[in-house]
């Protein structure tokens, strides 16, 4: 620490050590400048631009029509954003929450030091994470195909009825959720495993000597000890979970599924940009208003997360 805070000692002809002009640090500033320049241009400036774009109606080609607050009124009253928000929440609740719980359980099973083939399990579970979502969506489209899908063939083989997966609202939502589950499970398992590996074994031994069973140990030692990891997963998982786009878009060939059942917030935004199969007239003004809606939802989630985490930290101390 002391070494780090010591000022640069290279002598320079122009200045003494005490009074160095800010400009003599130009190399340092130059080295860190790319981030700040790019963030200003592609992060902050779009926000300002978005204020303006949300007050117009524009198909991207012709003339912009100023419409005042109409796009925001439309955002709140047309019901499209609300239904996209609720689709997003449903997919989040049926995918992200179960996958975290299941991964926690699997990590507990894998955490014992002597388990055979532990690395092999980890690798197998992690493999879906490195495959492209587009590829995953194409494979799942075929697995769950109503007529010729292997899942329905399997159901029929054991005497059950076919399930119209991709032609019903809940079927399509469920397939999207299963895809997310399949793809992110291994990532969470690896994260939880690393959290568990930092728990001192002596804690477990002491508990076992006191006669605690496996479940009791899991509840009273493992969970509290990896609580920071669980919170980290909750925060990052929520933020990415609310931006789901590729899975439903590719699975439904850009159409959004029966009754738009898997049109998430990001999907709706892209749809009004004309960036996916054309089902609505392009309106970049409305798409921008949707962008603001998503922005607000994510800020709200971040605030809730910060509050919950702050509370937990206080309880812990």
């Amino acid at each position: 620490m002391t070494l780090m805070t010591r000022p640069r000692t290279r002598p320079s002809a122009r200045q003494t050590l005490k009074q160095r002009s800010v400009w003599t640090y130009w190399r340092e500033y130059l080295a860190i400048s790319p981030f700040f320049i790019l963030f200003a241009v592609f992060g902050l400036f779009p926000l300002v631009y978005a204020l303006y774009l949300s007050t117009v109606s524009w198909d991207g080609l012709g003339k912009m029509t100023p419409v005042g607050f109409d796009q925001f009124i439309r955002l709140f009253t047309s019901g499209e954003f609300q239904s996209a928000l609720s689709n997003t929440v449903v997919i989040f609740l049926t995918a992200q929450v179960p996958v975290v719980v299941a991964a926690l359980g699997a990590a507990a099973l894998l955490s014992s030091r002597r388990l055979a083939a532990k690395g092999l399990y980890q690798t197998l579970f992690f493999l879906p994470q490195v495959t492209s979502i587009v590829a995953v969506a194409i494979v799942f489209q075929s697995l769950f195909s109503n007529e010729y899908g292997i899942i329905n063939s399997g159901l029929q083989a054991v005497g059950l009825d076919k399930v119209p997966w991709l032609s019903t609202e809940w079927g399509t939502r469920l397939v999207v959720s299963i895809m997310i589950f399949w793809r992110s499970f291994g990532y969470f398992v690896v994260i939880f495993l690393s959290g568990m590996s930092s728990i001192p074994p002596s804690l477990y031994e002491a508990a076992r000597l006191d006669g605690a069973g496996s479940l009791r140990i899991f509840r009273s030692i493992t969970i509290p000890m990896i609580w920071p990891t669980i919170l980290f997963v909750a925060v990052t998982g929520t933020i990415s979970g609310f931006q789901i786009f590729t899975e439903p878009q590719v699975l439904t060939n850009g159409l959004g599924g029966p009754n738009d059942s898997v049109v998430t917030m990001m999907f709706l935004q892209v749809r009004y940009m004309g960036g996916t199969t054309q089902t609505v007239p392009t309106d970049l003004g409305f798409a921008t208003a949707i962008g603001w809606g998503i922005f607000a939802v994510l800020i709200l989630l971040a605030a809730i997360n910060a509050r919950v985490m702050g509370k937990r930290r206080k309880e812990a101390s």
Binding site: M4, R10, F35, A135, I239, Q243, T246, V250, G275
Partner: protein, 275 residues
Amino acid sequence: MKQGRLAWLKHLVLLPLAGLFAFPFYWLLVMSTGRTSDIFGSPPRLIPGTEFFANLGRLLESVNFLQAFANSAVVSISATLLTVAVAALSGFVFATFRFPGRNWLFGILLATMTLPTGVMLVPTLQIYVDLGWINTYLPLLVPGAASAFGIFWMRQAARESVQYEVIEAARVDGASFLRVFWHVGLPALRPAIAGFTVFQFMWNWNEYLWPLLVLNDSNLYTLPVALQQLNGSYGTSDYPVVMVATLLATIPLIVLFLLFRRQVMSSVNSGAVKG
């Protein structure tokens, strides 16, 4: 003895689970090596067939798949190198140099990570239009070149592994700014750079939303966009062709992951990587 029985019970749960997770990969292999009639048959064919090269031939005849493959390789490699280079240099400077406003600037950088600016698609796309960047790879290279997350990661790694005595010694010897980075920073950061590079490459290879929005010329398509288009146009008529393409698009990352498994896993382990 009790331990042994417990282990068996664990495998009893884990083994079917692993099978379930491997199945979609297996099924992709089955479908890309069979005929259309195998897939739509009843009962469907359950084991890999021998039609892989025939399917591959039809794929190469019908669409410019190799072009998309090459595009993806070029874009992913350049984007990754750029991001990693900027992150390593900036992270190293934040960690080991002292300059006015350093902590303040780093605080801003951290704060931007919580700001979901990435969800503003229209104004960003409009900026690309105004810059004349549509149908170029610039939107896939430039905005992502400086990653707050990557700089944060490299700074952490530099704080842990760079020895300040070495830097001081190098400076006393009159080594220039970039020489210090090259000869002290890069070697110390090597493990972190390896992990970040693999991750960044995976993200770039799989990136879908922006290529979909900025590339309209099919000669410029990257793999995910080309795959989606292929699925749209051949999905109902020639399924094995779509599956061969999907398999080929998946293999490079699986190979990369298996080669660098340890770096990837330990990067996730350091809790640094987003989902």
